[in-house]
């Protein structure tokens, strides 16, 4: 199992649920972004949803449900996971607006896109 959290503002999102709760009280605006998490499932050599629109600050977690390893690689190398074996996860927090196309470096016919919009 690997769980990789990586992002420009990753420190904010590595907070435990309890800590997030505290942040909600202390800084509601920041906490509103911090609670946003989305999962992209990898199954049958497909990312789903393959096309995802999120707001800045959202953490996306890819989970591999296949019996074969996959990797999640952004085409401009903004992020790159290690090989994810069955049930392994990879997370990335999107802080900046933009379009991020990604694919599986082992099976490049597998593609997906994250659109980050305010």
């Amino acid at each position: 199992m690997t769980f990789i959290s990586f992002g420009i503002s990753r420190m904010a999102w590595m907070a435990s649920p309890v800590l997030v709760g505290l942040l909600l009280v202390a800084a509601p605006q920041l906490a509103a972004a911090a609670t946003s998490e989305v999962t992209v499932k990898i199954a049958n050599f497909t990312f789903s949803p393959a096309d995802l629109t999120i707001t800045p600050g959202t953490t996306v977690t890819w989970v591999n449900n296949d019996d074969i390893p996959h990797a999640v690689v952004e085409t401009e190398k903004t992020f790159r996971s290690k090989a994810l074996d069955t049930d392994d996860k990879f997370s990335f927090t999107f802080t900046n607006p933009g379009e991020f196309s990604y694919f599986c470096s082992l099976h490049p016919h597998m593609t997906g896109k994250i659109t980050v919009k305010k």
Partner: protein, 319 residues
Amino acid sequence: MDKSDKIRPTKDEDGIDRSGFLECMTWAGTGVLWALAGGLPQAMGLSTALAAETPAAPFTFLQISDSHVGFSKPANPDALATLREAITRIKELPKKPSFMIHTGDISHLSKDIEFDNADQLIKEAGIPVFYVPGEHDLLDDGQGKSYLDRYGKGSKGAGWYSFDQQGVHYIGLVNVVNLKAGGLGNLGADQLQWLQDDVAGLSAETPIVVFAHIPLWTVYPDWGWGTSDGAQALALLKRFGSVTVLNGHIHQVMQKIEGNIAFHTARSTAFPQPEPGKAPSPGPMKVPAGDLRKYLGIATVDFVRGGEPLAIIDKPLAG
């Protein structure tokens, strides 16, 4: 031989019955056994004259593929055990092949222990092994450094190379690096240039054997089973009278003949994959445990010089 899949495309059939010859090659459990008969050269250029001096006895080599050592999912809980069965078959051969070609995915996750286990087992065959990497062999932090450190000695770029044996020119290509989103396997401009230079001095009578992990021909693009610039590589080999392309990756036997080029993919020693389009994805195919060995294993191939029939016999580990 009765239960093996066999293909004998015929070119200029000379009527010589090679069934006895083929019969003795149906043993091999997991891998492809190639036999190259000396034969009479069709033209007496320098290279063919040299080739004619090679022994007339059949020259054999093996291909194994996709051992995926480390794989332990339901499709095959012990990929090392089935590789061991394959190696046992090879050791039992009445005539030791000159060498073995492994067409990639030696390991499942490029872990040192997986490479170590594979190496230790394959070494027991007691013959030299020539490797090309599969995408599963480049998953280390160095994105292929482990593979090159172990197997890349004397190779160029990401691990491509060529060598000559008994008048045949062998070319190992790498089509699993720098893959592009939405694309297929990829050789890249550097490797294609190298290939062009590599074959530039060879006479057209030189038999060529090309091996790479992902099929160099387009088997099924929806599943990424092909090489985007494979056609460019094959164009460089068009002038040769006999070209044989050996691939792995798709964990099943597929073959076709196109002009002077014969394509063949080998079975895996680890787990089967579905036929193109016959499943939601190309993931490991679960078959009843008792049937697994019918899907793993082997092809034996009789490769005969000089426009004579090429015979390929694929044989499973069991069944």
